[in-house]
Amino acid sequence: MSHNSNAYLQGIVLDEETYCSFGELCRLCGASAEQIHEMVAEGIISPEGRTPAEWRFTLVSLHRVQTVVRLHQDLHINLPGCALVLELLDELDSLRSLLARS
C-alpha cells in the first residue's frame, strides 16, 4: 500500500447550492455544447437564466449530465429514454430512503 500524499484533499460537493456556467458545465462533464443544449431542451437539466450566456446550472446537474452520457454510450439509450431513466432513478432513491427510515 502506498501513500498518495499527506495533504487532505478538498473536493467540491455537487449540491443544489453551488452553480456553474454553461462553459464550466461542458468542461466539468466533458460534454459538448450541443449535448448540453439537447439535455436542456429535453428538460433533463434546468438552468436558471434566459439565454445560454446567462445560464447557471446547479452542480447536481453535473451528475445528471454524466449519467446521461454513460447511459447513452453504454446502453444506447436515446435522450427521452435517459430522461425517463433519471426520473425513475430519482423516484427509486426517494422510496429507498423512505424504506431505510421506517
Binding site: 498518495n4 484533499l9 455537487l14 447550492e17 466539468l28 451528475h63 449519467t67 453504454d74 429507498r96 427510515r101
Partner: protein, 311 residues
Amino acid sequence: MEYKDYYQILGIARDASPDAIKQAYRKLARKFHPDVNKEKDAEARFKDIGEAYEVLKDPEKRTAYDRFGANWQAGEQFRPPPDWDAGSYEFRGSTAGAQGFSDFFEALFGQARAQSARQEFRMQGEDQQAAISISLEDAYRGARQTLTLNRPEMDEQGHVSMRPQQLNLVIPKGIMAGQRIRLEGQGLPGHGGAAPGDLYLEIHFIPHPLFKAEKRTIHLQLPITPWEAALGASLTVPTLDGKVQLKIPPNSQSGSKLRLRGKGLSTEKTQGDQIVTLQVVLPEAHTEEQRALYRGMAEKMAFNPRTDLGV
C-alpha cells in the same frame, strides 16, 4: 491470472448463436449498469459482461477463445499457451474504456491495442466513481478522514492496475447522503501526456443507533411517560451536537413532532433541523396499587379514543 468463462458470465451455452449472445449481453448490461444498479459489485459485473461480449461477438476472437476448450473452470489459474500470438488481434474502441479489461483478456487480445493507443492518441483519463461510508457525526461537524480506495497506478510499461491506496479527504460540514464530492485530477491517468480524469465519491451514512437522516433533517424517536406527555416536561435529548434540553408542552400526544433548529445537517448556506417524534410509552401495571391508579384514571377521565370509529 485467472481463467474467465465468458459463456458463464453471459449465462449462455457454448454453442449460443450470435443473436443469443447479443440478447444476453444487452439484458445483463441493462441490469448491471452501475448508474442503475446500486449493488456493490455492479461495476465489476458490468465490466465482466462487456469483456465477455467483446470476445464472443467477434467471430475471430470467439474462435480463438474457444481453442482453450471447455475444460477450464472460471477462476482457475491460467497461462496462455507458448504458441499464442496475441499480436495478431487488433483491438480498437471498447465499452470498458481505459480502466480496461482483465489481465486475462489483455494477455489474449489486448497487447496490440494498448501499444497503439499510447502512440497515436492523447486522451484524457477516465473518471472514477466510488462510494464511501461516513458517520452522521462526521457529516454534522465536518471531518478529516483517511480512506482506503482501490486506485489506479501506472507502472513503467504504462500498464494500469488497481491497488489499495490511502486518500486523505476533507468531509465538508453538512454533507448529505447521496451527495457526491468531486476531486479533480484524482481519477485514472491520461494517455499520451493528457490530463487524468476525476474522482467522484458518493456519500453513504453508516447506520446510526439513534438517529436517521432524511436529507438535512435528523430524526429521533423520543420515548416519554404518560405524565410527561400530559403535564409537560423539560427532558434531556441527544443530538449530533450533544445533549440538549427540550420542553415538552402539556397534553402532547404520541407521534407529535418537535423541532430543534440547527441540530440537523447544516451548511453555511442552509440550516438543517432535528425532528423529535414523541412516543408515549405506558408503564405496565403489575401491583394492586398500580392497577388502582389506572382504575382511578378510568373513573375520573371521561375519554373515548374511538369516537372517530363511530363506536
